[in-house]
């Protein structure tokens, strides 16, 4: 009986710590992964914007990029586990201190990019141009709060 209790105690402690904290080497890996994902998001934003501002004859690509951007937006929350604020990263520690705010802005990113995707299906260029800005603003708003400046 006693043994089981001790076992449960240590297992739960282990679970608590292992579930949302990463050891340093994993954390470096997570940071690199996160940076690649963020670059991919910027890549899709930049691609849509290139099509819009240069009037490129490949408008049907916008939907593909909007889809991908929307997929990425849904990953945002999970690529910032606790313990990944140290090292070669511009992520501010305030992310984990103000987690609910961080969550809210991430959700805005999901919502706005979902709208972008819907609009891209209809192909109304004016509306897309407006919505890309709204989507970009959610990136800006998170960076302003939670990304260190150069």
């Amino acid at each position: 009986m006693m043994k089981t209790k001790i076992f449960i105690f240590f297992t739960s402690i282990f679970l608590i710590f292992s579930s949302n904290k990463l050891v340093p080497s994993e954390s470096a890996g997570m940071i690199k992964y996160r940076q690649n994902v963020m670059k991919a998001a910027a890549g899709h934003m930049g691609a849509i914007v290139s099509i819009l501002k240069n009037n490129l004859p490949i408008r049907d690509h916008i939907l593909e990029h909007a889809n991908s951007l929307n997929q990425i937006s849904k990953m945002t929350i999970s690529i910032f586990p606790k313990g990944t604020g140290l090292g070669r990263t511009k992520a501010k520690n305030s992310i984990w201190k103000n987690w609910s705010k961080f969550e809210k802005i991430s959700q805005d990113f999901v919502d706005e990019s979902t709208k972008l995707m819907e609009l891209a299906k209809n192909g109304d260029i004016q509306a897309i141009a407006k919505q890309i800005r709204k989507t970009g603003k959610t990136c800006g708003s998170c960076h302003r709060n939670f990304r260190k400046r150069d």
């Binding site: 890549g43 934003m45 914007v49 290139s50 970009g136 603003k137 800006g140 302003r144 990304r147 150069d150």
Partner: protein, 296 residues
């Protein structure tokens, strides 16, 4: 008799409405200039939900903390009793109606180049907004008396008052861009570093500043390929000023995003094109301000 009276009456009504619409036109023109200036966003204390243009926003600089002033047309605490000439003197010479010199944190070094007509329109617009009664907060400078003496020295020996002059060797578009950038949009006030007295260092024109307003880094926007925006096309520049989205898909931040939101986004396409045209002819200056090594 009745006919004459009616004629006179109609005539008066027409005159009256012409005056009103001329006024309205002037205000509209002024509003455009206001937005092109970035919406004077420093004068609204957004962070603390302050009233529009009522001042009180802190602006940290290496010289101390300034508090922007109330520029609503309130007679007691704002600029409501300024005459046209008072306004023009403040904008062109950096001197208050009481004869005090402003510190160049108020960008009159750029605003002095705004044409008189444009300034009068701007004043008409500012005087059309609601007055707010709110006292100004005194500045907190590192050397309080140090403010005046070097300032007066600087104004006497370093600064010189200028007018915008058209460059006949360049196109009309370029000149429009040059006028807007040098005067109204005041890009240099953030993107050009300052000398120890607070004046702009023209040798580093637009080459970026590590301690721009509020201690923010304002990047190098000369067409240098490595450290500036040499890889940006003119379309990239004008699109950025309208939307805040950079060519690599990143969204701008800090003061730049604020000034786009409260002003530049309303610039008409022709003006954006002119600005881009002018900016791409800057002398490229190599000046690396970003931390090497830290990736996003």
């Amino acid at each position: 008799m009745l006919f004459k009276f009616l004629c006179l009456f109609t005539f008066l009504i027409i005159c009256f409405s012409l005056i009103i619409s001329a006024d309205e036109e002037q205000i509209k023109k002024g509003e455009y200039i206001f937005k092109a200036s970035g919406g004077c966003s420093c004068h609204t204390n957004k962070i603390n939900k302050g009233k529009f243009l009522a001042g009180g926003r802190s602006i940290k600089t290496p010289f101390g903390t300034f508090f922007s002033t109330n520029i609503t047309p309130d007679v007691k605490t704002g600029i409501g009793n300024w005459s046209d000439e008072d306004f023009i003197r403040a904008m062109k010479l950096g001197v208050s109606p009481a004869g005090e010199h402003y510190f160049p944190v108020f960008p009159y070094t750029s605003f002095q180049l705004i044409k008189r007509n444009d300034l009068l329109a701007l004043k008409a617009y500012i005087f059309s907004i609601s007055p707010v009664n709110q006292k100004n907060t005194p500045h907190k400078l590192i050397l309080p008396i140090g403010r005046k003496i070097p300032m007066i020295f600087w104004k006497k020996f370093v600064w010189s008052s200028k007018q915008y002059e058209n460059n006949p060797l360049r196109t009309k578009t370029w000149n429009r861009g040059a006028y807007l950038v040098q005067s109204i949009t005041h890009c240099a006030e953030c993107h050009t570093p300052r000398d120890f007295l607070g004046g702009l260092n023209y040798e580093m024109h637009m080459a970026g500043s590590v301690d721009g307003p509020e201690g923010e880094l304002a990047p190098n926007i000369t067409p240098d390929l490595k450290t500036g925006i040499g890889s940006w096309s003119k379309i990239d520049i004008s699109y950025f000023l309208k939307t805040g989205i950079k060519p690599d898909g990143d969204y701008t931040e800090g003061l730049m995003s604020e000034i786009i939101d409260s002003g530049y986004q309303y610039l008409v396409d022709e003006d954006l094109k002119s600005i881009a045209e002018y900016i791409s002819t800057f002398t490229p200056i190599e000046n690396n301000l970003r931390n090497n090594g830290t990736s996003p």
